[in-house]
């Protein structure tokens, strides 16, 4: 099961959001997409999920172009967890996760034991079983994010796309969610996630893909890609890269410059 | 938006032009419509050059039929232009106006209830019933829109539409159960200036003058209110009193208009927009322009109503809606959800 992105270009009118991107992701691999705001990470994710039609290039899943399939068929193979998703009012966690089975149900297809199993498994994998009856509005940010992750897992797809899965979370909850993601990759899923926190991305991703102005700026093992030059190129910051005492993973430490006199005027 | 110095008290040229235009439309309004005398004969009469054999006849038609009608148009339009400006400014919503917010419907329903339940038949009776109805509807819609914190433009419009529709139902129930009220109501509800008699106008006039004076006096404090309650208070105004006064003046103006000609929607919507377009942000000139624009629009619509389906007469309210609904669509399309900002710096 491989995901192949070939020469993908996506344009919004005159603006090129994704520019000739090549990417291959194998089953079980976690790829973290990093880069500054507006560099095309989310657009790339949407294009892979068949939500945005590319101007050029293809997205192949098992050698089949996703645009030759119907939306529902794609949703059985690729799950996308959106950034800041909204659910119908008053929904419970279990109610939300059941929507993950929606692509698998037809007009006359009723709720089956397989559906129920997938839901229970997704709840268990994300540690949400005990909270299944809670309303979404009653959950903490981390719990709500795990409920959305469970929905994507219940879709039972081979590809999992995540748009900033941890951006709203404190470090503890972020690592909870990333742990769930790592486990589901270990079970054979292909995972691509957009991340802002370089240090977390480095720790959980097998491969880092850095984007800048719609193009892939660098790609490879986190330890090899993350350098002071990368921080400068992506975010325009001066930073040191040191190795973590425990596992040697690179850590980006921005250098705090003395404030320029007119910085905020 | 034009920036003008605070001390500018001159009368804008646009206002003078607008007044001249209203005068012109008023004169034209005297020359068209019922009777066998068209534009040329009527003009000849008005300029004192009519042949003696027809002069008396024309005089009868112009003074007994057309003059009251044109005067009614002037009063109704002015009142609606005033009410629309006050509502749009007070709610900061470019779509607020007595028709869409259900205030006209409140006045109309109260009149129908008065006719069928209490046997009202005097102009003063109509007017007081209309005032009560308009004031209740106006207070209710503003109150409801304010409940729950934020007043979005949509909430306000929906509250108004709901009140209007509900009152429409009440009216329909009364009319189907009280046969007597039906015929009288039928033409009046469609906004006819024909039915406005001089005695009716006389009974409405004091209230209308009061409303006009109140509206002009309210213009400046109301503009201060658009800066927010706290800022208005800092400027020495009392927001609650201003709002109460707005409800009173709007109700009085709408009630007068409804008592004279039945509910006419959209004049209150269009007139303030015309005024803002002509004048810019100067509260007193703007409200005056809105009153004039309302009067001009009603007179114009009444002229069209007399010609468009000749030999039949179209209801004025329908003609106004025909002009106004596209304008509303244009406003929604143009401004999207942005509320009308009246925090102008021109005063």
């Amino acid at each position: 099961m491989t995901l192949q992105v070939e020469n993908l270009t996506v344009e919004y009118g005159a603006h090129t959001a994704v520019d000739n991107v090549e990417l291959q992701v194998a089953a079980g691999e976690i790829v973290a997409l990093v880069g500054p705001n507006g560099c095309g990470k989310s657009t790339l994710l949407h294009a892979i999920a068949r939500l945005h039609r590319p101007t050029a290039g293809r997205v192949l899943l098992d050698d089949v172009d996703v645009w030759t399939r119907r939306p529902r068929d794609v949703a059985r193979r690729i799950a996308l967890m959106a950034q800041a998703p909204e659910a119908p009012d008053d929904l419970s966690v279990a109610g939300l996760v059941r929507f993950g089975r929606h692509p698998h149900q037809g007009l006359f297809h009723q709720w089956s034991t397989a559906d129920e199993q997938a839901v229970q498994q997704a709840l268990a994998e994300t540690g949400m079983t005990a909270l299944a009856a809670r309303r979404l509005a009653e959950l903490s940010g981390g719990q709500r994010q795990r409920a959305w992750l469970a929905t994507a897992l219940a879709q039972n797809t081979s590809v999992l796309l995540l748009d900033e899965p941890t951006s709203m979370l404190d470090p503890g909850h972020a690592m909870d969610v990333l742990g769930c993601i790592r486990d589901s990759a270990a079970a054979g899923r292909t995972v691509i996630m957009v991340m802002h926190d370089l240090n977390l991305a480095v720790r959980y991703a097998h491969r880092l893909v850095a984007m800048r102005r719609g193009r892939i700026h660098a790609s490879g093992k986190p330890g090899a890609v993350v350098t002071p030059a990368l921080a400068q190129a992506l975010y325009g910051i001066e930073a040191d890269v040191i190795n973590a005492p425990r596992d040697g993973a690179p850590i980006v430490v921005p250098a705090v410059k003395p404030r320029a006199p007119d910085a905020f005027s | 938006m034009r920036h003008r110095p605070r001390a500018d008290t001159s009368i804008p040229g646009a206002l003078v032009l607008l007044a001249a235009f209203v005068g012109l439309v008023f004169m034209v309004s005297l020359t068209v419509g019922g009777g066998d005398y068209g534009l040329r004969a009527s003009l000849a009469y008005l300029t004192g050059r009519a042949p003696p054999d027809t002069a008396a006849d024309i005089a009868r038609i112009v003074t007994t039929l057309r003059l009251p009608r044109a005067t009614a148009g002037l009063l109704v339009g002015g009142a609606l232009g005033l009410a629309g400006w006050l509502l749009q400014t007070a709610t900061r919503n470019p779509l607020a106006e007595p028709g869409i917010l259900g205030i006209n419907a409140g006045a109309a329903t109260a009149v129908v209830l008065g006719i069928s339940l209490f046997g009202l038949n005097s102009g003063a009776g109509y007017l007081s019933a209309a005032f009560l109805g308009a004031a209740s509807a106006c207070a209710l819609v503003l109150l409801l829109a304010h409940l729950g914190g934020t007043v979005t433009p949509l909430r306000l419009i929906l509250a108004g539409a709901a009140i209007g529709a509900s009152l429409y139902g009440v009216t329909a129930v009364m009319l189907t159960t009280h046969q007597l009220a039906f015929d009288e109501y039928r033409f009046w509800i469609q906004g006819a200036l024909v039915g406005a008699s001089p005695s009716m106008m006389a009974s409405v006039l004091p209230g209308l003058i009061g409303a006009l004076a109140g509206g002009v006096m309210l213009a400046r404090p109301l503009s201060a209110l658009t800066l927010g309650d706290r800022a208005a208070r800092a400027l020495g105004h009392r927001p609650a009193w201003i709002r109460l006064a707005v409800v009173g003046v709007v109700a009085l103006a709408s009630a007068s208009a409804v008592a004279l000609a039945g509910p006419i929607a959209f004049i209150g919507l269009l007139a303030p927009h015309v005024a803002r377009w002509l004048i810019g942000r100067r509260p007193i000139a703007e409200v005056s322009a809105s009153i004039l624009a309302g009067a001009g629009l009603v007179l114009l619509a009444d002229i069209i109503a007399r010609r468009i389906l000749a030999p039949y007469e179209a209801p004025v309210s329908a003609v106004v809606a025909l002009l106004g609904a596209p304008a509303m669509i244009a406003i929604v399309r143009g401004r999207r959800s942005r509320p009308c900002s009246t925090t102008g710096s021109g005063f």
Binding site: - | L154, L158, A161, G169, M328
Partner: protein
Amino acid sequence: MRARLTGLALVVTIIAAIPLCLATGPGGLSPRTALAALFGSGDGGRVFLVRGLRLPRVCDALVIGAALGAAGCLIQTVARNRLATPAILGINEGATLAVMVWVFCVPGSGLGPWWIAPIGALAAAIVLVGLSGGIGMRGFRVLMIGIALSILLRSIVDMGMSVLAVNHATAVYNWSLGSLLGADFSRLRIAVIPVTLALAVAVALGRRLVLLGFDLTTARALGADVQRDQWLALTVAALLSGLAVGIAGPVGGPVGFVALASPVAASHLVGPGRVPVLVAALIGALIVLVADTLARVIAAPNEIAAGALTSVFGGLFVLWLLYRRTGEIG
């Protein structure tokens, strides 16, 4: 499960209500004698009263109510606003205008064939979406422009009314109030087939429209073809409300009480995360049945148009919604 139980309870309620509605009104019938007369026993006058006069009204009420309830459910889901109804958006006015144009162009043919009103409704829906520049995921523009469109269309109807010959005008005016007085099977017999078909499509659509409760990205990621579903839903809703209007005028009232209240009540009954088209249709049927019966007795010996009655309730209901719910109505 909850939805099925609710549906079952509603069906039982409706069946129980039918004999009551048949018995209500002048004639001094009890539900038992009314039921007997329905099956042909009792004296001829009674049998005629029940079978010839009241049964058509009951059937009309059920069909109209079901159509309006389902249409309201679809439109509220598409516009994402609890106050969106075919009436508020001008779709009913489109149907009324089409009927009036027919009366104009083909004098002496009554109110025209059954399909003229749905075509008017559909045309109004298309104009509405065109003017709004698409449906979008936020109902704001569609609603505002719909309000303007409904006023515009109503004014054209008013103008036409003032020109129509008096007897035609009276016919159209009475019809435009939405009354089931004088209902017979002639219109219903033909309209019931398209209504049933459209209802079936609507119920099937309900399953997909659930995804419209999510944000656009999530809805599409879960496999929804959002734009197509919105168009389908709007089309079916316009057809349903047009058919309902064509049978007996806007019985739902100018604010569309039936189309407004049924989906809201249905959502409360079946719980969150569903688009309860079928339950809304059943509730709609029950509401119109009750409203028409009430309209018959509330001002006896006079009869009120059911549409007038429902519009009174409709306004109050909207006020209550505005008072209670802030999230769902913008």
